[in-house]
């Protein structure tokens, strides 16, 4: 059973770039920490898509392996970042990223 299709590699890369740019816009625009973290997840997912597509181009497993490392990185980042979100909401009673600017004079 082989479900794999022959897809133009550029189309997959354009999709990955579009997802990355949407995520980057979200990181720049949003003030709520939860949405900033979700946009970061979208960006990392787009990077993983690019890796898997490049691995599928040469039918090698390396792309999937890099995707698994991105997955481990995303899991580690989310665990620490959500701990920071909990502390932020406890200390400042707000999810606004700008509420934690005490070092800014």
């Amino acid at each position: 059973m082989n479900f794999a299709l022959s897809i133009p590699l550029e189309h997959v890369f354009v999709l990955a770039v579009a997802l990355f740019c949407i995520g980057l816009t979200g990181v720049l625009v949003r003030r709520n920490v939860m949405f900033v973290l979700m946009s970061l997840e979208v960006m990392m997912n787009a990077c993983g898509l690019a890796f898997v597509a490049a691995g599928a181009r040469w039918a090698q497993a390396d792309g999937q392996i890099m995707f698994m490392f991105i997955l481990a990185l995303a899991a580690a980042e989310v665990a620490v970042a959500l701990g920071i979100v909990l502390q932020l909401s406890r200390r400042f009673d707000s999810l606004d990223v700008d509420s934690a600017d005490e070092m800014h004079s």
Partner: protein, 169 residues
């Protein structure tokens, strides 16, 4: 059959836009799950079934559920949607879009070369596993250390007294 890829791509793009522009955090998480599932379909069509399974299990299963736990713990009330609307004025989108749209166009221009097709060969879990625990063994160990560090960091940050001690000072 190739139209499946384009359907999944459009679904991924639309749901990702809804994640970024959403006002309600739990609704945005549901849209994030839709986006991740459509990317998993694309992985499957590219011939990476193991990556597709991991996308569903780890991303949509574990990471998004972690987000949902935190959204439930924070107990965002009915005022949160109104506050998001106040924070997210339409004029705030202009400058970030001016920055990211040229980035997108530049990357698309850089990608426009001779068309290349993917190999249409399925790379199964066995191949991935032998590669992962062969040449990439050191990287697996490093990923394990990273996850351990994240576990310790998340435990430390999640403790309650970090905020209580501050009130005593």
């Amino acid at each position: 059959m190739e139209s499946l890829f384009y359907i999944a791509a459009v679904t991924a793009l639309a749901s990702t836009v809804l994640v970024v522009t959403g006002k309600n955090a739990s609704h945005a998480l549901i849209y994030l799950i839709v986006s991740l599932l459509s990317v998993a379909v694309i992985f499957f069509l590219l011939g990476a079934p193991f990556a597709a399974a991991l996308e569903v299990v780890v991303y949509a299963g574990a990471i998004v559920v972690l987000f949902l736990f935190v959204v439930m713990m924070l107990n965002l009330g009915k005022g949160s949607v109104a506050r998001e609307s106040a924070w997210l004025r339409p004029s705030m989108w202009i400058l970030p879009c001016l920055l990211t749209v040229p980035l997108f166009l530049g990357l698309v221009y850089a990608l426009s070369g001779e068309p290349v097709q993917t190999a249409a060969v399925m790379v199964g879990p066995k191949t991935v596993g032998t590669q992962l625990f062969g040449p990439y063994l050191l990287a697996v160990e490093l990923a394990g250390i990273l996850l351990l560090a994240a576990l310790v960091g998340a435990y430390h940050l999640g403790r309650r007294y970090l905020s209580e001690r501050r009130e005593e000072v």
